[in-house]
Assembly symmetry: C2
Homo-oligomer: 120 residues x 2
Amino acid sequence: MSLHDPDLDRIFQALGDPTRRALLARLLEGPAPVTVLAGPTGMALPTVLRHLAVLEAAGLIASEKRGRTRLCAVQVGALAATEHWLNRQRAIWEGRTDRLEALALSLEAQDDAVRPDDRS
Amino acid sequence: MSLHDPDLDRIFQALGDPTRRALLARLLEGPAPVTVLAGPTGMALPTVLRHLAVLEAAGLIASEKRGRTRLCAVQVGALAATEHWLNRQRAIWEGRTDRLEALALSLEAQDDAVRPDDRS
DNA sequence: CAAAAACTTAGCCAATTCGCTAAGTTTTAG
DNA sequence: CTAAAACTTAGCGAATTGGCTAAGTTTTTG
């Protein structure tokens, strides 16, 4: 499980763009309409709108139409899920590190760690 | 700072692909040569090699040529840096959440949170 | 030394991504 | 009711991505 988690795909991909991280950072200070978010980016509105759509598809933000403006706000859940995944990965690493530190990239490593069983 | 961190770009983008997360997960169990890593993916070797190159460019793994094989191993530093970034973002959110929870997506939010100062 | 193993390089292709401009649409202001 | 504001949709073009096959190159094995 979680080896091919589409949610995780979308979240990481969304965070992989500096413009989107900037938008998210701005939203962490409070909700804002699209035009306000677009301001600092110096980008055209449709461009920013698509970045926001990516963030929303990833569950990182939510938005709601209020009259003629759309108000966007952070949705911290996805961020927490991501942290959780990273935590788990690092935990796995740290659980093994005592056993591996002696051989990482060393001679035995090649023959010893290569086939501890490849349960696909 | 960190609004346009190329390292963060590469790390998140690298983690945004399920194949690469699977490769990383496999490497968390111990170092392995390219062919072994390629096995479970069912992909052609050059394809896997490029995924590994992406992971390495992001600093998530390291690799070393040993004879005719290349041994790959996790480099946990980048993972930790990513966790750190996420932690910081969530901390910002949680620091504001008390102030914002009352207005998130509400009426005042629009006019009040829009211009707390936009230091770009 | 001949050949197999394990990459490595060099393309090719389809799909996606990131930016843009131009032309709607829907609300609100006058 | 007209017009400005604030999206929204449509579509375009260059660049990147993710997959492949084919043809090297370097080591090891027989």
